[in-house]
């Protein structure tokens, strides 16, 4: 992310806001850097940089105001030893700003590095930390300057006017002192209400400008240069990434069960299976599997086959047209296997209030592996189709 060296602070802010904005929408800019907003460390560091910058801007503006005010000019004349003139302060200020700028503009450049700190590679981490240290240093210096200018006059000689005390808020808001407010009192009055004519608080005014810049950059990013992903593109990326992550996980996971290799489980798995059944299936199939809205699961008659693989499949893909929803998004393959095994254990329990038999008599002998595999491809077919339409409708 090469950028020209900016000469003033305002553009420096933009340089930092721009990447922030792009990240805010959860995507990587053109030259992707290894860290993004999913990394907590990165979020914390970049947010701190941004907040510190705001503080610097506010302090800078306040300083500008103080330096411009008569109060300080007279004080400066008296106190020539500390600082010779305004120019000194201003050049000091520019120097600091210039020093911070290259650091800020380097923030995006990252080399791939094996060393990780809190999930961030070393280069990014140290660049961000350097920026923060710089910013803190600038704030410290600004703070001293403000303190210096606003400090109470320590004059021994008696003075006629009360010494002017400015709070930090007065300085930030560039307010006219309460004692002097008659100077800016407007000449009208409504039912006893008078109005002052204080100037717009600088932080407010420049904050307003900043939001307008943000707005322009935002719209440009998404709708003029189209560098940002709109929601459908964002969604497609999310789903694709999830597929990769799951495949990666499944490679190492022990519970990679599906309808081709499901085995009858026993013991603790049956207990878990029962818990799942009571929580999720009992509403339709009855607490003992006797059948209610859904069919009886304890008899030997099955609508969609009674083999282990058949039951597994019925749970996983559902029979939507008959009111059985697919549960594959809700349960892990292992959980479906536990459920299947529990249902299998219900056979012949003959619970009270059992629903009448539905479907065909199922005998174990007829259930060879090949039989139960055959319909599998069928039930997958519409899935592929629906995926296709998904893509079509996206277009």
């Amino acid at each position: 992310m090469k950028q020209r060296i900016h000469k003033n602070m305002f553009l420096m802010v933009c340089a930092l806001v721009l990447p922030m904005l792009m990240f805010a929408q959860n995507q990587t800019p053109e030259k992707a850097i290894s860290s993004d907003f999913s990394n907590t460390m990165y979020v914390v560091l970049v947010t701190s940089i941004f907040l510190l910058l705001l503080v610097i801007i506010m302090m800078g503006l306040a300083l500008k105001n103080i330096i411009g005010s008569d109060f300080v000019t007279t004080k400066l004349k008296k106190n020539a030893n500390t600082l010779k003139n305004n120019e000194g302060v201003k050049s000091n200020f520019m120097l600091l700003a210039a020093a911070a700028t290259p650091a800020a503009t380097d923030a995006g450049v990252v080399e791939v590095n094996d060393w990780l700190i809190g999930g961030l590679d070393m280069t990014t981490f140290f660049i961000l930390i350097t920026i923060i240290i710089f910013e803190v240093a600038i704030i410290a210096i600004f703070f001293r300057l403000i303190m210096h200018f606003t400090a109470k006059e320590k004059v021994a000689a008696p003075i006629v006017n009360k010494p002017k005390e400015k709070t930090i808020f007065d300085v930030l808001n560039a307010s006219v002192d309460i004692e002097d407010e008659h100077d800016i009192m407007l000449d009208h009055e409504y039912d006893g209400i008078r109005e002052l004519d204080n100037s717009l608080p600088p932080w407010w005014k420049y904050g307003f400008y900043l939001t307008i810049v943000v707005a322009v950059v935002y719209l440009a990013n998404f709708h003029i240069f189209k560098t940002g992903d709109l929601q459908v593109a964002e969604y497609n990326k999310e789903v694709a990434q999830a597929k990769i992550d799951i495949a990666e996980y499944m490679k190492t996971a022990a519970n990679n069960v599906d309808e081709t290799n499901v085995k009858l489980l026993t013991g603790a798995d049956l207990v878990t299976g029962k818990e799942l059944f009571v929580a999720n299936c009992a509403a339709c199939h009855g607490a003992a599997g006797e059948g209610k809205v859904g069919p009886n699961l304890t008899d030997r008659y099955w609508l969609h086959g009674g083999g282990l693989a058949d039951v597994f499949k019925s749970i996983k893909y559902g029979w939507v047209e008959k009111g059985m929803k697919p549960w594959q998004e809700d349960f892990s393959p292992n959980q479906i296997a536990q459920l299947t095994s529990f249902i299998y254990s219900l056979k012949g329990t003959n619970p009270p209030g059992a629903k009448e038999a539905q479907g065909d008599l199922y005998t174990e002998a007829g259930a060879s592996a090949s039989d139960s595999l055959a319909p599998k491809t069928d039930s997958l077919a519409p899935k592929i189709d629906s995926l296709k339409t998904k893509q079509d409708s996206v277009k």
């Binding site: 100037s199 935002y218 996980y249 809205v293």
Partner: protein, 709 residues
């Protein structure tokens, strides 16, 4: 210059103050009931009139239009006369305004409890009441402008700019959003459909917050805060800039209620950026209020009125900073549909509107009755109890909102959703309870205030007509020296009204016109067909029962939502939805693709007793749907109305509608009977099941159709 003698009308102010107190308590009680129903479903009482879906609109309408509405009029009628040095234009208009508004409130409460609703949030009232609102609003404007025109003060004070902005904008919002086609005296369909209806509705909904809850109250702040603190307003320049930028920018931000929905991306982006730009104009009001107190902070320690006003202005500042943050798409992705939003609006409603109203009442009632407040101690207690109430309300809702959203989005490494929807409801209960306690505390404070004020009224001596005098306004105006450029428009009220109207029209026009005229904004889907007569009747039952207050019909394009609910919602799916029912809160799951997910018998049992099908459910039961018959006589009128709105039913369809309806209903009844549930086919439950089973299925038909080919 001759001094003219005249009298301020305090009587109308007193009436509005009484109405504010009464409706405030009523609205808060309704809110508390709704809050209790969320953890104690039995509090729905199994009655149609007390079920959550009807109580919640009563609560929102009562606090917005009855409590805050009367509060606005109270403050405006008091301050306007004094700022213009003139009595209200016409006592008769004032009276018509007052009684007209109270009539609207009573009609609204009754009709909403009876289930007469348009199904559009904060605009639920049916068309006859909409017309009445328009008429009464015109009376208000007429009275206000009449007073302005006979004023004895050349220039308009900033408070009055806000009153004028409020008047024109609310008129525009109300009329545009309420365009609907009547079916019968208590039933109408929104003129707009789907995406367009959503855009218009949230342009309205967002700006009801802006121009009913914000701008008039900023006007009141500009009068009552400097009065109570006895300090000059901090910055005139700031008033000018923040007034115009606020009303211009606010209008654009509506689409931020619809981020990640089927609304076109460009409209969403406009909503985002204008919300961000709204921070400074909103904060301009807060700054001007708080800095007006410079030099008066010692009084804040003593005076309950100032305490209320300070917290109100601070709450305003917090809510208007949070608003733009919630409008960022990445934050909206988490916060939308959750209790976070409920917490956000209540910081505004309880803090800003509530406390501002309380502060004004504590200041105004002793003034009107020429006495001291009965108990300052009690007012201070009210302040602390109320503040504690807000904290106890907001914090649990922020917490639970974020927690629930993260649970919705949680996946196991195997790629399954980690939590069933019901799991995420179960964990909410303690938070709902704490929230209700916070609300109860706030209500307690309000009751203490009413008691305190009644006592004050008893010891006081009311002055109906307050004497005042001021020189008459000279015909011609001679400028003295240099003046601020804005002073010119401050002495031209009619021009000011026209300019404000133009300023607030721009955003709406730029967002609406392309959405209505450019076809690519709403790509049509051939498989999406109009509802059958039975489904249409079922949909009207869905609207009547306020299902949209807890269920959304908008699946956002996130993996966590498409996994849970199915394919994300497309703009073309809603083209026949008059009105749209996307909802704004998921107390229960999204229903956009509920069709076909469960058997008819599941819905039958679920509507009769939700916990039978989903143990732990907090949904109310709907037993009356099993007894009441569908109003068949309305079918023809409904189909005809839909045809006039452009829904492509075949020629002469209304003639066969009744028989079509009967056929479909018998099919469902037979289906239910198979599972042992006996019901007559003419019952409302059958129509509702027909609608639920249709929802979101049109797109799926594409899949099966293509496989058959």
């Amino acid at each position: 210059m001759e001094l003219q003698k005249f009298q301020y009308d305090n009587k109308i102010v007193k009436w509005f103050a009484y109405a504010t107190m009464l409706w405030g308590i009523v609205g808060m009680v309704a809110g508390l009931l709704a809050a209790i129903q969320l953890f104690l479903p039995a509090a729905n009482l199994d009655l149609p009139y007390t079920s959550f879906g009807r109580v919640r609109p009563v609560h929102t309408n009562a606090v917005i239009f009855a409590f805050v509405g009367n509060g606005i009029f109270m403050g405006v009628y008091y301050s306007l006369q004094r700022l213009l040095k003139a009595r209200m234009f016409s006592d008769m208009l004032s009276k018509i305004h007052f009684w007209g508004w109270q009539l609207i409130i009573v009609l609204a409460a009754i009709s909403l409890l009876l289930g007469k609703t348009t199904g559009k949030e904060y605009a639920e009232l049916e068309w006859p009441i909409d017309i009445l609102i328009t008429l009464v609003w015109v009376v208000f404007g007429w009275n206000m402008f009449g007073t302005i025109l006979k004023r004895r003060e050349r220039h308009l004070y900033v408070a009055i700019w806000f009153y004028i902005g409020t008047f024109v904008t609310v008129a525009m919002l109300h009329i545009v959003n309420s365009i609907e086609i009547p079916v019968s005296f208590w039933k109408s369909y929104s003129w707009y459909a789907g995406v367009q209806d959503a855009l218009v509705q949230w342009w309205y909904g967002h700006n009801a917050v802006a121009f009913f809850l914000t701008t008039p109250y900023l006007g009141l702040m500009y009068y009552f805060l400097p009065k109570a603190a006895n300090r000059p307003v901090y910055s005139y320049r700031l008033s000018v800039i923040h007034f115009w930028s606020l009303i211009f920018i606010y209008i654009w931000a509506g689409p931020h209620h619809l981020l990640y929905t089927a609304v076109p991306d460009w409209a969403q982006s406009l909503g985002v950026v204008f919300s961000v730009m709204l921070i400074a104009p909103s904060w301009g009001g807060m700054i001007n209020g708080l800095l007006t107190l410079r030099g008066a902070w010692d009084k804040v320690r003593e005076d309950a009125v100032l305490k209320f006003l300070v917290v109100a202005v601070t709450a305003y500042g917090m809510a208007t900073f949070e608003g733009p943050m919630l409008s960022l798409k990445s934050v909206s992705a988490i916060s939308h549909y959750t209790d976070w939003i409920v917490a956000h609006v209540h910081v505004g409603a309880l803090g800003w509107n509530g406390f501002m109203t309380f502060g004004i009442l504590y200041w105004l009632i002793p003034k009107l009755f020429r006495t001291e407040l009965y108990s300052k101690r009690m007012a201070n207690w009210h302040f602390w109890i109320g503040t504690l109430g807000i904290v106890l309300y907001a914090i649990p809702m922020y917490w639970s909102g974020i927690m629930q959203s993260l649970m919705w989005k949680d996946f196991t490494p195997e790629g399954q959703l980690k939590w069933q929807f019901m799991d995420t409801v179960n964990v909410m209960i303690p938070f709902y309870i704490t929230r209700a306690i916070g609300g109860a505390l706030f209500l307690t404070g309000a009751i203490m205030m009413v008691y305190n004020l009644i006592k004050t009224i008893k010891i006081g001596n009311f002055l109906a007509n307050e004497d005042a005098e001021a020189p008459a306004l000279e015909k011609t105006f001679a400028k003295h020296g240099k003046e601020h450029w804005h002073r010119i428009i401050e002495r031209k009220p009619v021009q000011m009204m026209i300019v404000s109207l133009v300023v607030v029209m721009i955003g709406g026009i730029i967002e609406f016109v392309p959405t209505f005229l450019v076809k690519s904004n709403i790509p049509t889907i051939a498989q999406v067909k109009p509802y059958t007569p039975l489904e249409l009747q079922g949909r009207d039952i869905y609207i009547r029962e306020g299902c949209y207050t807890c269920h959304s019909q908008m699946i956002r394009p996130f993996r966590s939502e498409t996994s849970r609910y199915g394919e994300y919602s497309k703009a073309g799916e809603f083209v026949y939805d008059h009105p749209f029912q996307w909802g704004s809160k998921r107390t229960g799951p999204d229903l956009a693709r509920i069709g076909g997910k469960y058997p008819d018998s599941w819905h039958y049992s679920h509507m009769l007793d939700p916990t039978s099908m989903s143990p732990g459910s907090i949904m109310p039961a709907y037993p009356w749907l099993f007894d009441d018959q569908v109003d068949v006589s309305s079918t023809v009128a409904k189909i005809k109305a839909m045809k006039r709105l452009g829904v492509p039913y075949p020629e002469g369809y209304e003639k066969i509608a009744a028989s079509e309806m009967e056929k479909q209903a018998k099919g469902i009844a037979a289906n239910l009977e198979k599972d042992g549930m006996k019901t007559k086919s003419d019952r409302e439950i059958v129509a509702l099941i027909a609608y639920l089973q249709r929802m979101g299925t049109d797109i799926k038909k594409t899949a099966t159709d293509t496989t058959k080919k």
